[in-house]
């Protein structure tokens, strides 16, 4: 499993990231931007899902350093197991 967690302090402890499960619904990103975004910009979501280049039907998942709230909403809304809250 490939993991891409960038510039983030605590997220690796909280999330299991399985990019190969990501189907591109973008629920995580949209909900994050709705709750935490400034001015409702999608760019202000703390989690970002981007279409890969080359393998155009796969996605990469990034967190940015502003993800500090631990709300875990992205994982709660992920319907495909790409983002899961770690047990314990």
């Amino acid at each position: 499993m490939k993991m891409l967690l960038r510039d983030i302090n605590h997220a690796p402890d909280k999330f299991q990231v399985s990019e190969h499960n990501c189907c591109g619904c973008l629920h995580c990103m949209v909900v994050c931007a709705e709750i935490w975004g400034e001015g409702s910009s999608l760019n202000s979501a703390r989690v970002k899902v981007c279409r890969n280049t080359g393998d155009y039907y796969g996605y990469s998942i990034y967190f940015d350093s502003d993800c500090r709230s631990g709300c875990k909403l992205c994982a709660k809304w992920c319907p495909y197991g790409a983002l899961q809250v770690k047990e314990g």
Binding site: C23, G24, C25, I35, S40, S41, L42, Y57
Partner: protein, 624 residues
């Protein structure tokens, strides 16, 4: 209503490369977005556009009221144009990510008119909108076109056409993000005629939601309902293939003359299909992904849904699902509707066998229903060579050349082929193909009655869930007596029109998790208006009436089942199928169909020719 919750309408005049923005219409609340807005915008053109290839034929693309929000499965793109295959105003609808991204760019609709002198594509990056040269993309397949545009415009969605659209084949379509078909009936040819290779959109601004926390709670509730469906995991693997027990009986071949042999059907089964899935693909906001990439030998390719490969593969005699998938992927890439393509080929072969076509027409070949011949004729159509050039015009365009007898051999409703063979079980699916103003389509009027053998109580539960009163539900689906398909479809069409105006998908697991009240509460929360379930259902009724009215200008009045469907369908090694009613206890005759239609018209308040009455126009305040 607060209009700051809504984006603009983007008007693109390709004749003059002129782009303007206008506000949404004052009566947006009466039609909402998606299918409703598309029909409202089309009403401005309906009485004056008669030629799909005239420059004033608009290509209208709209997004639903809930698009771009966390409302589950709300990213359906709606489109409308005068369709070249049969001259109907076709309301098209597809998944993918386009609608959400167009909303994020700040737009509710695109209205594209005119014709560009050189190939172009429309690039929307938030409010920066440009027409860019598409010479390098012209002639390319859709898959490559879309991937090229994704590379050039990061985080974008694409609607693109292939060579079939460029060649104005009347059953050319477009794909959204390479995984959803948009516009059977020739929307792709309209784009090709306009010199428009693609539309690419990127947006970053979420739509304003007036009561955000209330809205998110409602959206999460529907989201959870979907995730808790007991059959969700199976759906994620098979999607609409889940109805296989019904679909497999409807796989006829050789121009609807006989059902496929059982052993061939088994090789097109969902179990055979599952072996080819590489990964599921979701539309934006959808927890019920049923798109996928599949592998049949070479690199994995995206598809809209596997069942379609079985349906079209049956027409041309694919020996297994791998071949059928290859055929569908090739057709998708070329930008042609594979169902219509192989229906047209089957019809041409029958015309040859009836002596209407000769070897002079076929370049010296004797035509027979073989997979090889289907491949050859399909290629001739796609390249517009010889007979293929005539066939590329569809069923109805060459009456003089093929004569009445030739046209009679085509199996179509309003000039468009049926999705599958209905003779094994007459259902809501057949009836909704009959009453659709654009001709046969997949999901309009979707309900459990698309599947045979449903118990009246279960149908009544569904009807109650879409806002039908208990008394009416009992009349439609009585415990003792015949299911009233006519009345049922009248209600399911309205529900379809309502959810499609929200931008919500009409696939079974989605529409059974929404209901009029909760969906209306979402609309109220987004727009900050008073809006309830009854209001939403009235939007559905209004939109369907507007759809019908828009088509009235084109004389799309009477619905007729093709004669072939009243003949037995031969089933190898078994009894023939005869078209019977839903309960399978009564033969369907032309009179039976006519009676059902008259009941349907009456329940809709239309006249006995199926025309929208002035009373309805006034009551529903339709746009003329």
């Amino acid at each position: 209503m607060r209009t700051d919750c809504l984006g603009k309408i983007l008007n693109i005049d390709l004749d003059n490369a002129h782009i303007t923005e206008t506000n949404v219409l004052d009566n947006y609340q009466d039609y909402l977005g998606g299918m409703g807005l598309a029909n409202l915008l089309a009403a401005r053109y309906a009485d004056r556009v008669t030629d799909p290839f005239s420059s004033i034929n608009p290509l209208i693309v709209t997004v639903g009221t809930l698009a771009g929000t966390p409302a589950p499965s709300s990213s359906r793109t709606s489109a409308m144009t005068l369709m070249p295959l049969n001259g109907a105003w076709g309301s098209a609808n597809a998944g993918g990510g386009f609608a959400a991204r167009l909303k994020w760019a700040g737009y509710e609709a695109l209205v594209i008119t005119g014709r560009s002198p050189k190939p172009v594509y429309l690039a929307i990056d938030n409010t920066a909108v440009k027409l860019l040269p598409a010479d390098a993309l012209w002639g390319k397949g859709i898959l490559e076109t879309t991937e090229t545009l994704w590379r050039q415009h990061k985080d974008s969605s694409v609607i693109a056409i292939g060579p079939a659209g460029e060649k104005k084949i009347t059953f050319a379509l477009s794909l959204v993000d390479n995984m959803a078909t948009l516009g059977r009936g020739g929307l792709g040819a309209v784009m090709g005629d306009k010199g428009l290779k693609a539309v690419v959109v990127k947006g970053t601004q979420l739509p304003k939601i007036v009561h955000k926390s209330k809205f998110l709670a409602l959206a999460q509730d529907v989201h959870q309902r979907m995730r808790k469906l007991s059959w969700r995991n199976q759906w994620l693997r098979q999607g609409v293939y889940l109805g296989w027990s019904r679909w497999k009986e409807e796989l006829s071949t050789e121009n609807f003359s006989r059902r496929l042999p059982s052993e061939q059907i088994d090789r097109l089964s969902p179990q055979a299909y599952e072996k080819h899935i590489v990964r599921p693909l979701a539309c934006i906001s959808c927890p019920m992904a049923d798109k996928a990439t599949v592998k049949t030998g070479g690199a994995a390719k995206p598809i809209s849904y596997g069942l379609q490969a079985a349906l079209s593969g049956a027409r041309w005699g694919a020996k297994d699902i791998s071949q059928a998938l290859d055929g569908m992927i090739e057709a998708n890439d070329y930008g042609v509707d594979d169902l219509t393509l192989y229906a047209v080929v089957g019809w041409a072969i029958d015309m040859y066998q009836a002596g209407i076509l000769s070897k002079e027409d076929t370049g010296g070949r004797a035509l027979a229903h073989t997979a090889e011949e289907y491949g050859l004729l399909a290629r001739e159509i796609l390249e517009r060579r010889g007979l293929g050039d005539l066939l590329a015009e569809g069923f109805m365009a060459n009456k003089e050349r093929f004569g009445e007898k030739g046209i009679e051999l085509a199996v179509h409703i309003r000039g468009m082929d049926l999705i599958s063979d209905p003779r094994p079980h007459s259902s809501g699916f057949l009836f909704s193909q009959l009453t659709n103003p654009r001709g046969p389509y997949v999901v309009q009027g979707n309900s459990p009655a698309f599947t045979p053998g449903k118990k009246p109580a279960s149908l009544r539960r569904f009807l109650l869930s879409i806002g039908v009163s208990e008394d009416k539900a009992k009349i439609i689906a009585p415990d003792d007596g015949e299911l009233d398909l006519a009345l049922l479809v009248r209600h399911t069409e309205d529900w379809y029109a309502a959810v499609s105006s929200l931008g919500v998908c009409a696939r079974q697991p989605v529409i059974q998790c929404y209901d009029p009240d909760s969906a209306a509460r979402m609309v109220a929360a987004v727009l900050g208006i008073d809006f309830n379930g009854e209001d939403l259902l009235q939007v559905g009724e209004r939109v369907w009436n507007q759809y019908r009215l828009n088509n009235g200008h084109q004389g799309q009045g009477q619905e007729i089942l093709p004669d072939q469907l009243y003949q037995p369908l031969t089933v190898p090694g078994s009894e023939d199928y005869l078209l019977k009613n839903y309960e399978q206890d009564r033969k369907v005759t032309p009179q039976y169909v006519e009676n059902s239609l008259q009941r349907y018209y009456a329940k809709r308040g239309w006249d006995n020719k199926g025309r929208v009455t002035s009373k309805n126009i006034e009551r529903l305040q339709l746009s003329q």
